[in-house]
Symmetry: C2
Subunit: 234 residues, 2 copies
DNA sequence: CTTTTATGATAGTAATACTATTATTAATGG
DNA sequence: CCATTAATAATAGTATTACTATCATAAAAG
């Protein structure tokens, strides 16, 4: 990973750019730790302000509410994942091999020891994405927020990977559905391994990531290589 | 569908059994409508009480909080889905055909005009499950609630379908992961078709259910029929 | 050296998520 | 049929959350 990369988002879930000030970076750094510790529901701006030695009002100058902060964090995660996938696949010629590598990177994202950016701990952020990310779009305001561009980063990763599917299997009719299913499954299977093991076959929660990978690879490649005749017949 | 079936849950997310009293049934019936209209976050016991002509305190005698009410509704949904799948598959001998039928029923659950129980509108409940169900287990209390049996119904459906996968393909190593992925995808693809169409290939949101079905069928059957050799080689 | 700009300090409000108390009514049991 | 229990309604009250507003101060920019 490059020593310093710059992830920039395509929308403004924030009021003031948090990357540009000391307080902003503290808000990001500490909110990641607190959401991981307390869970999103128990996390408040008041608690955050107390922890970073600031005030509630100051935090509210950066984000309208905690939901928009979560949108920011999750968007940052997906922008970073896209960067990472691009980085690890750009010189692979064979479409199948490229897709395979992309799935590996997607599944293993957030497992690296060394962070790309000093104040963002990607391993903790990954845990937040696993536990909380579905909440960013499961709200009554989803359509307005979609219009505001809040989900551009996740959609971009989906399109990017769907394109790889199309390159590898031009006949396969559900590239986006397949990829969005896999993107969600990557997170879910890790969560299930840890909290609801009956819902998965991944046994060791310590190695959930490693065990999820062959399942997803097989799922994707059997879907796109497998008997496409069958679909057409229907 | 039978004229009157009785869905009973394996745990006590409620304080007082809501099915047994008039007020309890009103709470269930009206909360389904209100959560659908307002979204779970904007739904409160105060608003619910006002709508059914009761008081906040009375609602609290049935459910400790709105989260447990959601657990109840989602559990009811899965118990009902399991009943429905059992009903539609019990006399099918061929394992593949049985699995196929089960996936159809799973995907089409909640589309029927006629409800099984007078005060529960399954079509609205299905919309709630699509939009809100992931919130029942994405909390900091997931492990305690799992111990309390709050997720027995969804786990039961997963095990039931995973068993069908094993009957159809005894060699396939990820039956539970495959089924939990499909169960989630069933809901997600419908949600994406409606709110985030970039994440799916399902075009017409009106027929999202119908279009999701062939995608899922192909996904499952190519996974279990497809080259199992490949997995073993790894 | 003055004027923005960011932050801190403090206060305040409406809504949420409850809990407690008492009165009233309906159901049950002897 | 009366006495007891149980369920609900009515009302009040509390702690926390999710903000908004005001003003002072410190730092940075012009």
């Amino acid at each position: 990973m490059a020593a310093s990369i710059l992830i920039s988002l395509n929308h403004k879930s924030y009021l003031r750019e948090p990357e540009s000030t000391e307080l902003g970076r503290k808000i990001i750094a500490e909110s990641i730790k607190m959401i991981d510790n307390l869970g999103f529901e128990n996390f408040t701006f008041k608690k955050l302000a107390a922890k970073i030695g600031s005030t509630e009002a100051s935090v509210y100058r950066y984000f309208e509410n905690k939901h928009k902060l979560l949108v920011y964090l999750v968007s940052w995660y997906w922008a970073w994942v896209k960067y990472t996938i691009t980085f690890h696949t750009h010189n692979i010629q064979d479409p199948c091999e490229r897709l395979c590598r992309a799935i590996e990177v997607l599944t293993q994202a957030g497992q690296d020891e060394d962070p790309s950016i000093a104040y963002i701990d990607e391993r903790i952020l990954h845990r937040i994405v696993v536990s909380e990310s579905s909440k960013v779009y499961h709200t009554k305001e989803v359509d307005e927020e979609n219009k505001a561009g809040y989900f551009l980063e996740i959609k971009s990763v989906c399109s990017f990977l769907a394109k790889m599917v199309q390159d590898a299997a031009p006949e396969y009719p559900y590239p986006h559905a397949l990829i969005s299913t896999v993107m969600e499954a990557t997170l879910q299977q890790i969560y299930f391994a840890k909290h609801l093991p009956t819902l998965t076959d991944i046994k060791k929660k310590e190695q959930a990531v490693e065990e999820t990978l062959p399942f997803l690879k097989h799922l994707v490649f059997s879907a796109i290589e497998g008997n496409l005749m069958k679909i057409k017949a229907e």
